[in-house]
Each structure stands twice: as C-alpha cells, then as structure tokens.
C-alpha cells in the first residue's frame, strides 16, 4: 500500500474540515429556518414575545377560509401563467429565430439577455416610471393611434397584474432564450436537411422538427419559469406592494404583510409553507426532467 501523507486521524478529520464551513452556514441559515417556518406555522407566535402556543392546524384552517389568501393564490397563478406564456412561447420563437441568424447574432442576443442581470429593484423603478399615467407606454400608444388603450397601468385593477407580469417577463425572458438556444444547438442539422428535401417550408420545419426535438427543454423552461415566478417578491413589492387594494397581491407579498409587518408570525409562516410546498414540488419535477435529459 501507499503511505499517505495525511495520518489516519487527518484522513478521518479531513472531510469534516472541508465540509464544516459550508455545512454550518447552510444548516444554521437555511435548513433551520426551513424547519422553523413549518414549526411556526403550528403556533400563534407574534414574532416578539418569548412564548408561543401550539395551535395545531388553526393557521391552516384560517388559510382555507381567508378570502385574501385565495385572491393572492389566484393572482399568483394568473401572474405565473402570463409569464409562462411569454417566456416559454415568445422565448422559444425568439431562440428559434436567433438560431437561424449569424450576422449580428451576438449583438441581438446581448440586447435580449442584458435585462436579466438588472436588479428587480431597478426593473421596478424603470417600469413604474414607464407605466405612469403620462408615462412612456401611454405616450407611445397615443403616438401610434392607440390612445384608447392608454390607462394608468399600475393603478388599474384590471391591468396591474398583467402589466407587472410583462415587466417581470422583460427582465427574465433572456434566460429562457439562452436555455432554448442551448437546446437548439443540440438538434441534428440533418433533420432540417431531410425536411428541406421533403419540401417543408421553414414553418413546417419548426413545427415538425424543432418543436418535437425541444420538448424536454421546453419542459425545463416551463417549470423553471413557474418556480421563479412563484418566488417573486421584489418587483411587486417595489411597485405596488400588492395594490391597488389587493389586485396585485401575490403569495409572497401577502406573507410579508401578515408576517413581517403585522407580526402574525404563525399565520405568515403557514403562507410560507404553502409557498414552500408548491415550489418544492415544481423543483423536484424540474430536476427529474433534467436528469432524464442528461442521461
């Protein structure tokens, strides 16, 4: 056998030393809070007093009868639905077009991906300004003869959720585009050649070659967009804080209001657990699809 420079003790100790920094921080500031949010959700804690009482499923029962919670729940689904349609649908189309272009491709790609690195807070400020009643969006609409569509976007109960979803999509669609592009590069060029020989036009080639080949990637982008949009807090909080009234209230903003602002820690945590469960399920699906793809 070789004689290892590390003594037997060092060999035992090494894994501990290497893992300790990451594990300690991770356990204390991520795993433990995850456990705590579940624990809090069964109590009536206000986040301040030292004592808290176990109240069983009371918070969850309250969730089921809380009209605002269900409004936030529904809003979160609508919000995610809009973002998925844009990021998956439009993202795929843009990527498919980009893959056929060589000239200026990097420049175009840079422009589309650039908003991804902009802070949601900055995105919120920019779009809040553009959505103002006399803002850019309405001015453009008037200039192109669509003045009838002009509306105070973020103050309108009908428009606010969609307007914010559009702003969020603007800042995230670049990610879908690059994932789709990576998927497109893996599609066999011969398939396109064969389609061309068979007399398929570009749209037919897209429909019968690109789409089927991209099905796994599409699933990945779909679930990714879903989980990401469920987690969103920043952009909504920084623009409308869920308003006007509750028309853009989503789960995260509602949880923040109840938990952090109104000190209903137990109840806020129950909302957090709902969020945790939904996102976890979606993430597990995401990882399974990716695993299957890697194989």
């Amino acid at each position: 056998m070789f004689s290892y420079p590390d003594s037997k003790w060092a060999q035992r100790l090494n894994p501990v030393l290497f893992l300790l920094p990451a594990l300690t921080i991770y356990a204390v500031f991520a795993l433990y809070p995850t456990y705590s949010v579940i624990e809090y959700s069964f109590t009536d804690w206000d986040g301040i007093r030292p004592e808290r009482n176990f109240v069983g499923l009371e918070n969850y029962q309250r969730l089921f009868t809380d009209k605002i919670f269900w409004e936030a729940f529904r809003n979160t689904f609508i919000w995610s639905g809009v973002i998925i349609v844009i990021n998956v649908g439009l993202g795929l189309v843009i990527a498919a077009m980009l893959a056929r272009v060589w000239k200026a491709r990097l420049l175009i790609q840079t422009c589309i991906v650039l908003p991804v690195v902009i802070s949601p807070m900055a995105v919120a400020t920019i779009w809040r300004w553009m959505y103002q009643p006399a803002g850019v969006i309405n001015q453009v609409l008037e200039n192109i003869g669509l003045g009838a569509l002009a509306t105070p976007w973020l103050g309108s109960p009908d428009a606010v959720l969609y307007a914010l979803a559009l702003a969020h999509s603007w800042s995230t669609i670049g990610l879908s585009v690059i994932i789709f592009l990576a998927g497109l590069q893996a599609v066999d060029e011969d398939l396109y050649e064969a389609a061309r020989v068979d007399g398929a036009n570009p749209f037919q080639a897209f429909r019968f070659v690109t789409l089927p080949a991209l099905r796994p990637v599409t699933a990945v982008v779909f679930i990714l967009t879903l989980t990401q949009s469920f987690k969103v807090f920043d952009i909504v909080w920084a623009t409308t804080q869920g308003g006007p009234i509750r028309f853009s209230e989503i789960l995260s903003t509602y949880m923040y209001k109840r938990g952090a602002l109104e000190n209903q820690y137990g109840y806020g945590s129950a909302i957090g657990v709902a969020l945790l469960v939904i996102v976890s399920i979606a993430t597990i699906l995401y990882m399974q699809i990716q695993n299957r793809e890697d194989r």
């Binding site: 893992l19 920094p21 990451a22 900055a122 920019i126 300004w129």
Partner: protein
Amino acid sequence: MGRWLLVFVLGVIAILMVSPLILTVFTSLKPTTELVNPPWYPPFNLTFEHYVRVWTEGGFSRYFFNTLVISVIDALMMILIASLAAYAMVFMEFRGKIVLQVLFLIGLMIPVTAIVLPLFQIVRSFGLLNTHLGVIFADLALAVSIFVFMFSSYFIGVPKALHEAARIDGATEFQIYRRVVMPIATPAVVTTALLEFLWSWNDLLLRLLLMTQDQMRTLSVGLLNFQGTMTRDVTGLSSGTVIMAIPVVILFLFFQRHFVRGMTAGAVK
C-alpha cells in the same frame, strides 16, 4: 431574403428590449428643463448634476459601498466554502455522504421567500441584524447548494489518477485541493464569483428585512426608499437606477459567456 427579414424582426425585438434601459439613461442625463420633451428624445444638454445629487445628498455613495462590500465578500466566501465542500463530496470517502447529498439537494428547493420570517429571527438571535455579516451568512446559506453542485460537476471531470498521483507524491488533501484541483476548476470559480456577486448585488428582500438602519442599507433598499419618499423626482430615480445597474451591466458585457453558462446551470435559484 428570408434571413434579412429574420434579422430585421430580431433587430426590432432587440431594440424594444434595451429601450427601457436607454430611456432611463436619457432621463438621468437631462436637465430638468428638458423633461417636458417626450422620454425618447435624447438629452440635448448633457448634465451629470442628478448623479452628483443622488450620490452625495441621496446617500447612494454609502449604499454603493455597502453593496460592494457585501457582494465581494459573498463571492469570495462562496468560492471558498462551496469548493471545499464539493471537494470533500467528490474526492473523500466518509460515512453519511448520501445524507449530505440529499441535504444539499433540499437547498435547491428552498425558496428564500418562504423562509424569510424565521431567517429574520435567527439573524436577530445572533445579534447580526444591521450588520454586513448577517446578510452575508444568509446569502451564502441560501445559494451554497447550487455552487456545491456546480463545483462537484467540475471536480468529477478531474481524472482520479491525477488525484491519486498527487497523493503518492506526498501531497496532503489541502495541497491537492489548492494546487491540482482548483486550477482545473477555474471556469467554475469564475462562474461562481460572477453569479454570487450578481445575486448579492441585486437582492432586495433579505436586505429589506435584515437592514433597518440607513447606515447599513444597500442600493436596492436605498433605491426603494428613495422611490417612496421622492416619488416625483424622475431624474433622481433614473440616476439611482443607473448607478445600481451599471456595475453588473459592465460585468455582463465583459463576461457574457460565463454569465450565460452560469445562469443556465444555476437556473434553479
């Protein structure tokens, strides 16, 4: 023919995508007198007075410095702790490895949003509210899983023979980590640094929760407050936005390839 149409359509999309940013820059450079012009008019007389005002009176110099300190430490610490942990996971044999793997996997699923309430309590109980350290620990904890997996996937590519050879030559594990394995994993180091810096720079929620004193605020919270108190100050707000965006935009333009690769890999966050 068809190609040119594609380029044209994509060009329009590209312009639409960057126009919100360009309009913001325009506004930030306009003298107040030019605000009556439509937003798509470029500034005719450039002025940097709004930047100066926001930077000094607005407190953005302090916010900028706070953000920079947190983001840089975040990035450096993340490289260190994630690579060390990944090294142990890939090259060392020990009991309970599978359990650890599952634990780190759980980390990929935890949405920050869902656990902010208890996280606040823990940071408070350590006396780390309104400290850089509290935010840094929270940032590291919530993203470390992703980077452990990222480093692991690089380390797995390192030939086992190389590792064995170094051991026979009398190197300790730490020497192998530093001299053999880390140099090979340079792309992972760069990606980790960029992504963690970016996430840290951009985050609002954790900073909003954990930094209540103006002295400690970061750009995201500073901008949020500025927006709340100076709602009508369009030029100030756009200058603040540009100040917040410019460092990451520059990083992105220089390291686009790394960003693109990293964001596809770390997309779960």
